[in-house]
Amino acid sequence: MDFRFAEEEERFREEVRAFLKKEVTEEFLMGLEDRGELDFSREFTKKLAEKGWLAMAWPKEYGGGGATMMEQLIFNEEIGYFQAPTGAHRQGINLIGPTIIAHGTEEQKRRHLRGITAGEVVWCQGFSEPNAGSDLASLQCRAVEEGDDYLITGQKVWTTNAHRADWCHLLARTDPEAPKHRGISYFLVDMKSPGITVRPLINMVAAHDFNEVFLDNVRVPKENMVGDKNQGWYVSQVTLAGERSQIGLPSSCKRTLEGLVEYVKETKRNGEPLAHNPIVRRKLAEMAVEIEVNRMIAYRVAWMQHKGLIPMVAAPASKLFGSELLQRLTGIGMEIMGLYGQLELGSKWAPLRGAMARMHMYSLGIAIAMGTNEIMRNILAIRGLGLPRA
């Protein structure tokens, strides 16, 4: 056993850190905040692409950097720590790119991968529908053949960044007669296509991140189908090849904890720094322990992937632990701030610019997005532990 990174890896971490320190400044983040685009910056994504870091773990033949899982882990850890915006490339790098690499035609690879690795094309994910959330395979959005095209009609919901995206990867039903998993196909849809209407959904943090997307006879050329017709479910399952540690959650939590430590050292209540309060100390120390535990779970995921093993338990466990840790940490942060914890951006009295309450609210969404924590637990129990299905 050896818990140290290799020297080159440490050097790489230093390089990434130096870059992020320069780029992800307070000012930069405040600028995003003002634009209401907390997690979205095309410029920043572009800069990562220029550094060759965006698709660092993709195979070289597809414009990637051929980096190891451990290097990718280091990079993701630093991005998480700096709480840098990833919205403009997350879908492309983690989901659609690997899907095209695994199942796409040569033409699809030529056409789409470069835009992703260059950080130029923003993708959104049109999977969820009003009646197809956890039960994604029950989706109703229809794709009907017409000549060389498919006509897609239906409604998608919770589509993050649909209002900013150039392209959408979506699932639609191509055989309504077949059993639900076997009548779905996977499409690449240009968001500028006629017949697409994007309507904003404002989340509980009062931000416009996700949307409803209505498709009314949207014409999509047949060549935009990924994989075979009615194989969409299968295709969508193999988007999990990328780094799956979710290290960004504990590393972002680490940064938040450091902010809280500063806060309690600087903040006095009736003449006494909060940092002297044993309850505050215990809570923050507990959070430090949990963050370390989470970091180790996440490291193990990446290490297993590095070794060619499949982290059937560790990967869902990491997402679960991380999202719930974020909830606990930010909740405790609000508690420690007392009455101040409820203040939002825009109050001069708001500590850390109201970030704690905002992150706490966002944590509710993270426990639901990308498969709810209940579904994660089901997957962990059934696939990871081999327990029987209910």
């Binding site: 969820s128 009646n131 959330g133 956890s134 039960d135 029950s138 919901v157 919770w158 959904l201 404002i202 989340n203 509980m204 009062a206 996700f210 209540r269 009736n270 309850i279 909830q327 909740g331 609000m334 508690e335 007392g338 009455l339 101040y340 914890g341 409820q342 203040l343 939002e344 951006l345 825009g346 109050s347 009295w349 708001a350 109201g354 309450a357 706490h360 609210m361 509710l364 969404g365 426990a367 639901i368 997005a369 709810t372 924590n373 209940e374 637990r377 089901n378 209910a390």
Partner: protein, 377 residues
Amino acid sequence: MDLGFTEEQEMLRTTARDFLEKECPKSLVKEMAEDEKGYTPELWRKMAELGWMGLAFPEEYGGMGMSFIDLAVLLEEMGRACLPGPFFSTVVLCGFTILEAGNEEQKREFLPKIANGDLILALALTEPSARYDPASIQIKAVPKGDDYLISGTKLFVENAHIADYIICVTRTKNGASPEEGITIFLVDGGSAGISTTLLKTIAGDKQCEVIFDNVRVPKKNMLGELNKGWGVVEKLLEKATAALCAQMVGGAQAALDMSIAYAKERVQFGRPIGSFQAIQHYCANMVTDVDGSKYVTYEAAWKVSNGLPATMEVSMAKAWVSEAYRRVTLLGHQIHGSIGFCMDHDMPLYFKRAKAAEPTFGDADWHREVVAKQLGL
């Protein structure tokens, strides 16, 4: 022993629920979160007509002479409805202070007006230290002729921006102990030298920063005795905390009801999500929290209502309800999936109120410390 409500109390609950469902729909709640005043005079007037403002005041002061338990029933329904506006600050925080500490003349002057809905009041207690102990009262009131001059900053003062009067807890002397030297004044909200700034809070309630700059208050506006104000504040905090718990319990019950209804109606995998054991366990945890919260709150409110020592029970209630309400709304959100993460949905109203109520009048840790002291530790 009788753990049930009386018929009148049940009727009060039904009337309140029906009235608030009709007059205070969630659309109004959301609108008021954005509104600067944070209440509508129409609803305020209608509530006054129902006698709610004076519900727990003696009849001789224009009230209905009902008990604190009755008020708790009403507050529970207000918590359920997420009622916006100055009821709590006017009636609970200020009305009771006047009733407790005011002289006969002050009670005759103010309480009937409160009962009639003619006055809006705010309690200026907390300061930037954001605590509820006597040492935190730093704002100065110094005598000058027939008046006192108040200077300093109060923070988290709900509804100060619309208040006709602000009850301000001040320091008039640096005594041997922090409890000594605290004096309460009834300050005309329109006095020169008061400036209020609304704070932006998650629950969209109307808390303010209030700066007093040599604000002149006539000596006759002193509530209670000079330098002896802390005893009044202590009693008030006990009542206010029990009252807040009642309101929180109502919110928690509503979040539970909503989640159960959704678990029955939302279908995934061809069956209602409420048929999944994970969701059933959530609901079971939630109802355990809500029921526990209710009866620990009722016990505290009953003691307050009957003038019995209630420090221990009130603190136990707040320590428990603060965390239970939070747990309930977190699980409620989890059950709702993405739809509950939307601004338009009602779940966030409860989640945000739960988080805002947690530190109000002391958080769970604060009250556990009170309990520890009561245990003789």
